[in-house]
Amino acid sequence: MISLSGVTKRYGETLAVKALDLSIESGEFTVLIGPSGCGKSTTLRMVNRLIEATAGKIEIDGEDIASYRPEELRRRIGYAIQSVGLFPHMTVEKNIAVVPTLLKWDEARIKHRVGELLELLSLDPAIYSEKYPSQLSGGEAQRVGVARALAADPAILLMDEPFGALDPITRESLQREFLRVQRELKKTILFVTHDIDEAMAMASKIAIMRDGSLIQYAAPEEILESPADRFVREFIGADSALKRLALLKVGPLFKRAKSIKEREGLVAAKERIVEGENLWLTDEKGVVKGWISPRSLTGAEDLTEATTSLDPRAAGIAKDDNLRDALSTMVKFGFRTAPVVDKGGILLGELSLSAILEA
């Protein structure tokens, strides 16, 4: 657990951070967010004492960080930054090994740990260990940066806009990957960003700062549902409802759906269909082939004529998709009700527009 109480940083006349109180539970993914210059990086760096607080107290697991030697403290805290800061004269392996080396781990243990971390971050050790930073792409370099921060298995990670310099596609894939890593490792993370979407996607708690002060500190859903003031409302943007949908999963909202197999024929379909609902056409294995509406059944010669066919890989929704993506798919295909399918396209149920609106 990290707790900041009354933490202040003064630069001459300006107060970069003003009497900040913030308490971060172990295993929590806390995102610090706010406009440029609001004191996010300053706050972060006071936790590993790259910057010394002017006033106030910071404790880690109940111990005042001032009681440690700064170097000792920093070796116990992972640190990753936007510019990555890989050492260009060292191989990827040596870069990742920096903190274990400082901690005087033996060589075999370091080697084993480096391989483990490269694999954790989806970098093949055989390919990447001996590369130099100049031979890596931006995304690869940042993966190595994260691996390096994790090297000595610190309980706490400080990350200052680690994905800020990456293109949107790479950023998103790294965010996803890092979330997977975090689910596995359960670190206590303090993560700075000024991208609200990144905050919403990653955080278990968001701390919104302005002018060196904490404005709101709450879970993402709560911030979207009840922003503390106008500043927060403006900061999260006009599409806060959509952002909220992005936090919710399809899983708990979809219902069982009625379906029919091709060989069952037109008569069975007419018997099964209910006014105001669709029927999903599937093959023998249950893979969705299309949909049948009550209107299309009237006057149809056979089942095929009554069916509007669809490709479940494009138009299907997965159980762990979020509602924003589901909504997007539905708008794209003009569905009031969309099929929920598994990886193989097999029908699991259906999600209706009204279920999303009520969520």
């Binding site: 000792e72 936007q82 510019s83 800061g85 050492f87 004269h89 903190v99 400082l102 390096r148």
Partner: protein
């Protein structure tokens, strides 16, 4: 990092040629006589007679070695000190000194040193030392100052002490620039050391001065060729060291 093995091989090949040539010219007087005989038929003395070439080369190397050695030691140390947080106040003074000093001709330094310490080895040593110090200081400062802030922040943030940061990160990264300064400084000193002969410091400048005074172009050429060869050899060796550094780090 560039792995420039080709450059190293070229340098090695050049040395295999230059070193025997230099040894031959230093050790054999008959070679000079047979070369200069037809060139200067009216000269009575074809080879500088007052000291043997090996002795002169030795004096020259001692002068350059001591002054450049001191310049390297002090220059790099000063450069490191003024780029530390607590030495930063001196940085502007040090960098303007380093860049200004290089516009100052070495002869002027010699002329200024003589009244202070007299003739001979000492003033030449002082002049060469001061003159050699400046490019090393300048390059150490610029090598240290050009380091990426993110790299230094990462080094500190991961828990390196100031000295670990200096020896494991800053110096290895600044090394190519620092070594370039060492190379320039030492090569210039090798040539400039010949001026020491004017105030009695010995070395390969002696035949040059004697030739100028006694109107003997053979002496001048002998001194000049040996100095030039020595400078090229030193340059090649130091060039190889910096290539090796770049690879090794």
């Amino acid at each position: 990092m560039v792995f420039d093995n080709a450059a190293k091989r070229r340098a090695l090949k050049a040395l295999l040629l230059l070193l025997p040539l230099f040894a031959l010219l230093t050790l054999s007087t008959s070679l000079w006589e047979s070369a200069f005989g037809p060139l200067f038929p009216r000269l009575e003395q074809l080879v500088y007679p007052l000291a043997s070439f090996p002795l002169l080369v030795g004096e020259h190397l001692l002068l350059v070695g001591l002054s450049s050695g001191a310049a390297i030691l002090i220059g790099i140390t000063l450069g490191i000190l003024v780029t530390r947080p607590w030495g930063r106040d001196l940085l502007p003074a040090a960098s303007s000194l380093a860049s200004m000093g290089q516009t100052f001709p070495p002869v002027a330094v010699l002329a200024l040193a003589v009244p202070v310490v007299g003739f001979g080895f000492a003033p030449t040593f002082i002049a060469l030392f001061l003159y050699g110090l400046l490019p090393i200081l300048a390059n150490t400062i610029s090598g240290m100052e050009s380091l990426d802030d993110g790299i230094l922040e990462a080094a500190r943030g991961m828990g390196m002490t100031r000295s670990q940061c200096l020896f494991r990160v800053e110096l290895p990264l600044a090394a190519p620039v620092i070594l370039a300064g060492v190379r320039i400084s030492t090569v210039i000193n090798t040539g400039t050391a010949a001026l020491g002969a004017t105030i009695g410091a010995g070395g390969l400048g002696k035949p040059i001065i004697a030739g100028l005074i006694g109107d003997n172009p053979a002496y001048i050429l002998e001194g000049a060729i040996l100095v030039a060869l020595l400078a090229i050899i030193i340059d090649t060796i130091l060039g190889m060291v910096s290539v090796a550094r770049v690879e090794g780090v």
